[in-house]
Symmetry: C2
């Protein structure tokens, strides 16, 4: 098995996921490298921040620069100069986000590229082929992610399609050593979630089940309390011996609650996107660097934070870069917010290994 739980604290777990590009300690936050770069950061910056796994986007990379091109250049790791692990999503979430531009059938999805309007098609087989060409360490099954406000019947329909596509995803050829995760849908209906979880957890192809299971379709517009209820009910029911991945969620609070419920893996654009908008996470809150009071503040964004931004620069300097829209701002702010998320996961690992995880991280 590629995953082992090494410590528990209530329903929370700390473990290790072995990948072809090294071990990944969980709980883990994966920075999002949508277009073969975590926005504003180089691979060297990232290495300094310390994550052992990042995420790449199948949809974006397939459209530009193209999966076959990346494969010819030696794969995604080499292309972006990243030595540790990469998880790729399947493109399902992005394709279904296009809504009017996507036409679904039982075999797959036809959609128009957001870049040039060209007609494109994704099927489970193609989504897995793209991820094989990219050479990611963890590939996600191709799923149908319905809108958060879809009626129950539409969610059941998407679930059934996701199950059929999961089987085809699991049967597809994989890159050497590539792990494969299935995605549980079911909206905010606990009975649907449990049913779908059962289907995916039991699924095997050639004697091999999914190496991990993910919760998809959360954090897509439902109320936070509703999302927490789903996570609290479903996460502990997910297979004990496989990693549990909550896709695309969320705030530091969301992640902490999910870790306590037993989730192991996370990704979210929030740290980098918020950074670009001036919102910087600090222990127990956040600050808006656009606020006038920071213009003369010689303190770092957060005292004691080891990131490049806090180690070398003041809030006043960051405020200046932000107001002047200097490119350096985006990098320093992104590095800081990612440090915060990575520290949060590190903190959870330490607490769980010490036997108890507090209600709040700091």
């Amino acid at each position: 098995m590629s995953f082992r739980v090494e410590a528990r604290a209530g329903t929370a777990r700390a473990g290790v996921l072995d990948t072809t590009h090294g071990p990944v300690e969980t709980p883990v936050f994966m920075p999002v490298g949508t277009q073969a770069t975590v926005k504003a950061l180089s691979s060297e910056d990232l290495a300094r921040l310390g994550p052992r796994i990042i995420l790449g986007n199948t949809y974006h990379l397939a459209l530009r620069p193209g999966a076959e091109r990346i494969a010819a250049l030696g794969g995604l790791h080499k292309f972006m100069g990243w030595p540790a692990a990469i998880l790729t999503d399947s493109g399902g979430f992005q394709v279904f986000s296009l809504r009017d531009r996507a036409k679904i059938d039982e075999d797959g999805v036809t959609f128009r590229s957001h870049i040039d309007g060209s007609e494109q098609r994704l099927t489970p087989e193609r989504a897995m082929e793209i991820q094989r060409l990219l050479g990611s360490d963890v590939a996600m099954a191709f799923d149908h992610c319905p809108p958060s406000d879809a009626p129950r019947a539409a969610i059941e329909d998407a679930m059934a399609r996701t199950t059929a596509w999961a089987r085809r995803s699991l049967a597809a050829e994989r890159a050497p050593g590539q792990l494969r995760f299935g995605i549980v849908q079911g909206g905010t209906h606990l009975d649907l979630r449990q049913r779908h979880l059962g289907e995916l957890a039991a699924m095997e192809e050639g004697g091999r089940p999914f190496d991990g299971l993910a919760l998809g379709g959360l954090g897509v517009g439902e109320a936070p309390a509703v999302m927490y209820d789903v996570i609290a009910a479903v996460a502990p029911a997910m297979p004990e011996d496989r990693p549990r991945y909550l896709m695309g969620v969320g705030t530091p609070q969301d992640i902490w609650r999910a870790i306590r419920a037993g989730v192991d893996m996370f990704d979210c654009v929030m740290p980098t996107r918020n950074a670009r908008n001036g919102n910087l996470f600090v222990k127990g809150g956040k600050l808006n660097i656009g606020n006038a009071r920071f213009r003369d503040d010689p303190a770092p964004v957060e005292a004691g934070c080891p990131c490049e931004c806090c180690a070398r620069y003041s809030r006043a300097y960051l405020s200046h870069l932000y107001h002047a829209e200097e490119l350096l701002y985006y990098r320093l702010a992104s590095a800081h917010n990612l440090q915060h998320y990575l520290d949060l996961a590190r903190r959870a690992r330490e607490m769980i290994r010490a036997g108890a995880i507090a209600a709040e991280p700091w």
Copy 2:
């Protein structure tokens, strides 16, 4: 004296300029940090590229974040985390670039901020005060830089004003250890240039002359051959024992020719601006990374180049980042182009110290 010539090759010189933030070997190219950052680069990136002096812009920094604010925060070096030397321009060039927004009188210039339209005023005294507050190692006198197509009478008028302002600049209080350079105007008229050079070279206040002299008002629209003629005629006539600085020029070819004519110091936005537009300098030419042929090219931008971009990434990756407009592109391309300019100056220093400087650098 703060400057000494240590080697000569024809009219070219190699020397050392001592500043309060360390010695600077000349010929030197100074990266432009307009708004307290060399665009897209951190001070750590810059330190890796190796320049011992960079440029800051009085006009931009005075408007935002403000000279008094930077002074209260400990000065420009501390503000931007830069440990080596900084030369600040006087704001003259920027103010006169505003044209319809600037109103000139004998005492100074009234203009409107490009940021918020507010009325602002620069005089020689205020320009020097701003540079004193910034705490730069080298401050430039406040000059009147006329348009390149101005009639001779207007250029003589600007020269006379620049001389009067130079005297006031020289008389102003300076930051501890701050050097002060005068700016020679005179357009493309060799007789005016020589006359103005004579005035500034002879000028003293309290027994102290300018520590260096600059050629202003070149590279502002005149034909390259005309500019070369001015440099070839005027540079060798500038005081032997003081550094000679050609402001805001230019291409690698321009700089090489000026070094051969005896110029010691340079600054230009070309390496970083061209980088952002896709133009990358390589030995003996340049390449446009937007060109389709680079999409599949696994080679670095330039083999053997030690910059972050060439050491870790391929042309194909850079091409992808460029087309995707990813922030990382601007940084990698800027680092590469600055490396090229810094290597050019390094090459000149080596050749001059070896006793001969070739007609072409590579």
